[in-house]
Symmetry: C2
Subunit: 205 residues, 2 copies
């Protein structure tokens, strides 16, 4: 698509660097901004720049945070003996949204993946081991994705923690609540049978 | 979705004001920016702000432009006696991309739509009539969308121009090149039969 204005072309080019935004979508977004008051573009630009320059990572859990210690780690109402290990901050949000977890998190920043050149030293594993050595953590819940890389990462951390007085657990895998059995994939259904749990009548909260 | 960081929340809220960008997509885009160098966010923000504050509208055709007169109106290689009337600047780009039009454009900025409160005075119709009165325009091609609003707008302009020495035409409607007849909608197919043209053997350029 040929764009006659250099200013427009530049804005579209920058916008289309975002993932999933092609040139056509970028053009639509930028033309939308042109129809809105200048203030909207200003506040968008400012919000992005402020975020990018002022955001920090929590020194405890490595979640992104406005300050040195994130709200979750700073809260007196969270169970400090329970730590959930996740890949990235979106997982933190997802688990927080369930309202079923009152412990702390530890954000690894990815998973071990030799294919993508991500080794243990690229993740916050050392800091996790350190935290467990501190002795306050009673249970570590692995909530990494159920892939080869996720399993490798779990196993690597498990080896690092050997001998330390901490219980390790992993989130349950199984058929999603509300799903029909016939549509579940075989691996998931197989796991949910092997890892069946005692029937107690009132599982749904 | 609960977001713990105020900075992140602000950025996501601003981003999700864009059309077609929901909160989840906005979060994905913003987190992507966080993983990229600061410079990328800076140049995106700057490009948007520069565009929004420095862009002008061409005083002749009302297309957006970096200067007072757009490249098309400024070009000595365009036929000034032929003016194509379009709704917005995306239509200009679409027609330019065909490479089949060497005249000038006139961007109305929308179409008459009482339902949406858009009247003739909200569009650049007066400036178009002025231009035709100037006497340089020999033919006006209507390229508005084939909807009730488009037809109303065409008719309104036609009435305004009555008595002026200008030929009016409208772009051809019909079955798209390469499409199977059986998949064409009835209205389009009907029009393409009623408005059939002499067969000359070499229509495809």
């Amino acid at each position: 698509m040929e764009i006659s204005s250099k200013l427009l072309e530049k804005a579209v080019a920058e916008m289309s660097q975002l993932p999933g935004i092609g040139k056509r979508t970028a053009l639509r977004l930028v033309l939308h901004l042109l129809r809105q008051p200048v203030s909207q573009t200003d506040s968008l630009a400012q919000a992005l720049q402020e975020l990018r320059t002022r955001i920090r990572h929590c020194r405890e859990c490595h979640n992104i945070s406005d300050s040195d210690l994130c709200e979750i780690c700073n809260s007196s109402r969270r169970d400090r003996s329970l730590v959930c290990v996740v890949e990235d901050i979106r997982d933190v949000m997802a688990i927080e949204n369930t309202g079923h977890f009152r412990g702390l998190y530890h954000v690894l920043g990815g998973k071990i993946s030799p294919m993508e050149g991500v080794g243990p030293q690229d993740l916050t594993i050392a800091s996790l081991v350190e935290k467990v050595r501190g002795g306050e953590v009673r249970e570590l819940i692995f909530a990494l994705s159920a892939t080869m890389e996720g399993d490798t990462t779990n196993f690597y951390i498990y080896r690092q923690l050997e001998g330390l007085p901490v219980t390790l657990s992993t989130i349950a895998r199984g058929v999603p609540v509300g799903d029909e059995l016939e549509y579940a994939d075989e691996v998931t259904l197989g796991r949910s049978i092997l890892q069946r749990i005692p029937f107690e009548g009132s599982l749904n909260r």
